[in-house]
């Protein structure tokens, strides 16, 4: 625990961070170690190139979108706080959270998770997934193996199925309804047996469950 504390003390505003995101100190330390590992030049900020250095991410069809999600609009670097805040979306949902309407929606609630996913689709942030955006997503996922017409027909059909107010785009409300039972969960869970915060922390598990 000594090492944890010392690491924690290196991070500015760590209490506030934990409060906001709900991560435990052990998690924060682990993430910090990972952050440092990615930050090869030790500037304290991550740039897109640092993310791009992760090989497997480059192979991911929506890798660049994910990277983009870490950067707030207009910013070119990601500091540790933003890093953690983005990853906080993937914490398991706190079932016992009292429903306090005055407090803002916590980062890892179901709605926030869905919103995060929604924003990955909606690149221009206008609150709707337009046909063009959908086409882009399809194009990147299908990796150039299909013709334009096929893509367009899929996009059309997708919009037709989900679009309830007929504006030819999918709004967040419509997006929420898509998975049956509406229980789309993005969860990133730390294993019960925490290891030291090494680079390849094998104790984290990432799950997506659709019920």
């Amino acid at each position: 625990m000594g090492s944890t504390n010392s690491t924690l003390s290196k991070i500015p505003n760590v209490e506030e961070l934990m409060q906001e995101t709900g991560f435990t100190p052990a998690h924060i330390v682990r993430l910090y170690d990972r952050f440092e590992a990615l930050d090869k030049e030790k500037t304290g900020h991550l740039r897109p190139q640092d993310f791009g250095a992760i090989n497997r991410l480059a192979m991911n069809p929506i890798g660049d979108r994910i990277i983009g999600a870490f950067f707030s609009p207009g910013q070119e670097t990601v500091d540790f706080h933003s890093f953690v805040r983005t990853l906080a979306h993937f914490r398991p949902v706190d079932k016992k959270r009292p429903k306090d309407p005055s407090m803002p929606e916590p980062v890892n609630s179901r709605t926030s998770k869905l919103k995060f996913a929604f924003q990955l689709y909606d690149q221009d942030k206008d609150g709707k997934i337009s046909r063009a955006e959908l086409l882009q997503v399809l194009r990147s996922m299908l990796e150039m193996q299909v013709t334009e017409e096929q893509l367009e027909s899929i996009a059309d059909r997708t919009i037709q199925e989900a679009d309830l107010d007929k504006d030819d785009a999918i709004s967040f409300e419509e997006f929420r309804k898509v998975p049956p039972a509406r229980a789309l969960r993005l969860t990133y869970q730390h294993g019960a047996f925490a290891a030291q915060g090494t680079q390849n922390t094998k104790t984290c598990k990432v799950h997506a469950h659709r019920k």
Binding site: L31, R34, A37, L38, F51, I54, R56, L57, N60, P61, I62, I66, L87, F90, P92, A117, L120, Y121, V137, L138, M141, L142, E143, Q145, V146, T147, E148, E149, Q150, E152, S153, I154, D156, R157, T158, Q160, E161, A162, V178, P179, P180, A181, L184, R185, L186, Y188, A192, Q199, N200, T201, K202, T203, C204, K205, V206, H207, A208, H209, R210, K211
Partner: protein, 808 residues
């Protein structure tokens, strides 16, 4: 029985009469069956036993008859027998067929009685029927045949059910919950076995029960036999309660995977019951044996599965025997595993699950349908027979009823199951994201039904080694009856009472599919960012490996390249096309003008809302005429050429099926066309040309690329391209489809797509590539109703689909 029907039928007298008659017929038949079976079981000419070994009997018979005849001939010359009855000649096949027929008629009968099938699960009714039949045979004075022979059960009755389960196993939920399932299957079964066995032994030692001669090892053996949840019973009961997917897969998966544990425990205890003790060394060996049995079984299954997949790659010229490969390879996998005393059930499951994606990409649509229906048919018959035989075997006995033993067994089983489930869930929930609630636990515990496997295992016990075998059998039967009747009957009301989540009836939509894939990518990405090799990382790796190497080997042609999403989309569109056609003659009108056209005939029954909303493309009249002309001319010509029917090509089948419907549709179409020409502006795509039987012949079923696609906004002309596989016709009418020929692959989606393979016989509709079409355009729903109709098999469309949507 007819009286009861009279009381219960609320419908008109006519249907009552029908039902009454049918039941009467069945009763008579039943009597006849029973008497025949009874008569058959008693020795006629000489001592012959009834089970199996038709050869022996026949030889016996012939030998004896020969001697009889010899003696006869020395006396007199008989008159030439004009008509004679020789039952023994055909006895065995006759009896088998009679049983199967009886089983099927019973199944039919149950669904005719209005309320019975909703209250009582089928399995219960079938056991009752078995009891009746057994009782009747006994009453007739004959000896009841020991029908639930272990060989018959394990080699003939069980494999179809397991193969059906394994082939259609929903892989994704299964793999997601594999940890939980394994925990329940392995640890749960072990716990049950030892708890029940141990406590039974303790009870037996109590004085006054007269059971003190039952030793520890036989008790443990008994515990291991009775603790295994039975897949047949679970399937039979759970099928009717439509519970949510998670619970279903948990209980069902457990029942499948506990076979390995049961096999090992059974053999272990059986081996050492003679010796009387088990040393720690034996336990270690047992554990090793368990690993070998389970992993070995899976390996054997996987090998055969890959062989089957590889074989199916080359079957494009001999489509008729494609289903055979699926069945035979699977059965061989089962038998090979049983040969080494590995777990046959796991081999079957592994074989089915491994071969499915590749085989389905390779075989034709018809073969796929055949496989599906044969599996369903066989497993259904097997299940029915198993339950009936259980009933008969109960009557047959012999029984040794011991109140203490039996009641303690029943109670202990229930108790141990509950404790086991609760305890394991407590541990499992620490590792699960989606926790199992109390309701879930209750259903899992309550759904642990025992069935015929337990009985057969008990039956296999050696009489000499286990003098209390009859007592064991009695207890096993009682436990089975208890679980099937009491638990089986009450689980449905309990599910409703507890408001357990039911199975989602919603079909998978393209949205869901896209989101699923998107999320997979997202989570894999996040895992990579965090630097962790998690669940998604490995899954992604496996997928890439699969795509790169395996699919190339095992899938014929170019189809392995097609991304899953596209294949899924094709399938959906295709399905919708068929639905559309089947429901309303295929004419779709824009919602703007329902009043102007009175098409009474065209009432789409279940038009998916999305489809109904689609705007239809608009054509100029001239274009339309052009299209129609082209269609007609081409199709007329091609029709004349395809006259020959070849048994090996399966070409003419749809033709035969749809012909009558076709004529009707033709009539309607002509009428429709007339009406449609009146409406100049809103015309949709031309009605199907009257000569569509040839289109029918097109293996559209296996060629999804040929369907259409409805887009909200496009213009242009749909062109239909008909490329005949037969070398004679050079005509081609370009089909609207802009999809280029893509291979179909499958990742467990169970698809039916086939590329435009020229080796397919018969008329094929090849889509044109984008270049040929003026602007990718789609046809209205009006496509070729006859075409669609003639496709594939007219299976019941409200059939419960397995996990993946599958074309009806």
């Amino acid at each position: 029985m007819s009286v009861r029907v009279a009381l219960h039928s609320p419908t008109g007298s006519r249907s009552f009469l029908e039902r009454g008659l049918l039941l009467l017929v069945m009763l008579i038949f039943l009597e006849g069956t029973v008497l025949t079976l009874g008569a058959a079981s008693s020795p006629d000419i000489s001592a012959q036993d009834n089970t199996g070994g038709g050869h022996d009997r026949r030889d016996d018979h012939r030998g004896i008859a020969g001697s009889h005849e010899h003696t006869n001939y020395t006396y007199t010359k008989k008159a030439f027998p004009v008509l004679s009855l020789d039952y023994h000649h055909i006895q065995v096949p006759f009896e088998i067929s009679l049983w199967v027929l009886l089983a099927s008629l019973m199944k039919l009968g149950f669904h005719l009685i209005p309320r019975l099938s909703s209250i009582v699960p089928e399995s219960c009714l079938l056991i009752v029927v078995g009891l009746l039949v057994g009782g009747l045979i006994k009453l007739a004075g004959e000896e009841v045949p020991p029908v639930l022979d272990s060989n018959l059960f394990f080699l003939c009755l069980l494999p179809p059910i397991i193969l059906d389960a394994g082939y259609f196993l929903p892989i994704r939920p299964f793999m997601e919950n594999i940890g939980t399932i394994l925990m329940f299957a392995v640890v749960g079964t072990l716990w049950n076995a030892f708890f029940v066995g141990g406590l039974l032994y303790a009870v037996c030692q109590i004085e006054g029960t007269y059971l003190s001669q039952v030793e520890l090892l036989p008790c443990l053996l008994f515990g291991s036999i009775i603790s295994a949840v039975d897949p047949v019973a679970v399937l039979a009961v759970f099928e009717e309660i439509h519970i949510n997917e998670l619970l279903h897969i948990l209980v069902f998966g457990e029942s499948l995977l506990n076979d390995a544990v049961t096999v090992v425990l059974y053999h272990l205890f059986e081996e050492y019951s003679g010796a009387g003790e088990v040393t720690p060394m034996d336990v270690v060996l047992g554990v090793i044996c368990f690993l070998i049995v389970s992993l070995g079984g899976i390996a054997v299954g996987a090998i055969y599965g890959i062989l089957a997949a590889f074989t199916s790659r080359f079957t494009s010229h001999t489509r008729v025997i494609e289903p055979l490969f699926v069945f035979v390879y699977s059965y061989m996998a089962y038998l090979s595993a049983e040969m080494f005393h590995l777990s046959g059930i796991m081999a079957l499951i592994a074989c089915g699950a491994v071969m499915r994606p590749y085989v389905e990409a390779n075989i034709s649509h018809k073969s796929h349908t055949t496989v599906k229906y044969f599996l369903k048919m066989w497993s259904s018959v097997s299940e029915t027979l198993i339950f009936i035989f259980l009933g008969v075997a109960t009557v047959a006995g012999p029984h040794a009823w011991n109140w203490t033993f039996v009641s303690v067994t029943v109670i202990l089983c229930l108790v141990s199951r509950v404790i086991g489930v609760v305890g394991l869930t407590f541990i499992i929930n620490k590792f699960r994201i989606v926790k199992l609630t109390t309701k879930d636990q209750f259903i899992v515990a309550y759904g642990g039904l025992r069935g015929a496997i337990a009985f057969s295992l008990g039956y296999l016990l050696d009489k000499d080694l286990f003098p209390m075998r009859t007592m064991f059998l009695t207890a096993i039967i009682t436990e089975i009856f208890f679980t099937v009747f009491v638990q089986g009957m009450t689980i449905k009301p309990l599910v409703d009472l507890l408001a357990v989540k039911k199975k989602q009836e919603a079909k998978r939509s393209i949205n869901e599919e896209i989101h699923t894939q998107f999320l997979d990518h997202l989570l894999t990405g996040i895992e990579d960012i965090c630097g962790h090799y998690g669940h998604h990382h490995w899954k992604d790796k496996l997928n890439r490996f699969n795509k790169k190497y395996i699919k190339k080997c095992l899938i014929a042609g170019e189809r392995y390249k097609e991304p899953q999403l596209i294949a899924f989309y094709h399938k959906m569109e295709f399905k919708q096309a068929i639905e559309l056609v089947e429901s309303g003659g295929g004419v779709k009108l824009p919602s703007a003008m329902p009043s102007q056209v009175s098409m009474q005939n065209i009432q789409p029954k279940k038009l998916p809302p999305a489809v109904a909303e689609r705007a239809l493309p608009q054509f100029t009249k001239g274009r339309e005429e052009e299209i129609r002309k082209i269609l007609r001319s081409n199709l007329q010509k091609t029709r004349q050429r395809l006259r020959s029917y070849n048994r090996h090509t399966l070409v003419a089948d749809p033709f035969e099926d749809g012909w009558n419907d076709f004529l009707l549709k033709k009539q309607r179409m002509i009428e429709l066309e007339k009406k449609m020409t009146e409406m100049s502006n809103y015309l949709t795509v031309p009605a199907a040309p009257p000569d569509s039987p040839t289109m029918c012949r097109a293996r559209l079923a296996s060629d999804p690329n040929a369907f259409y696609n409805i887009k909200a906004s496009s213009e242009g002309v749909p062109t239909i391209q008909v490329d005949l596989a037969s070398p004679q016709s050079p005509d081609s009418v370009n089909m609207l489809n802009e999809f280029s020929k893509r291979g179909a692959t499958d990742q467990g989606l169970g698809q039916r797509e086939g590329a435009t393979r020229d080796e397919d016989q018969g008329l094929m509709m090849k889509p044109s590539s984008a270049g040929k079409v003026e602007k990718g355009e789609e046809d209205g729903g009006n496509k070729n109703p006859g075409l669609m109709r003639c496709l594939s098999d007219p299976g019941p469309s409200n059939e419960d689909e397995e996990d993946e949507p599958f074309l009806p």
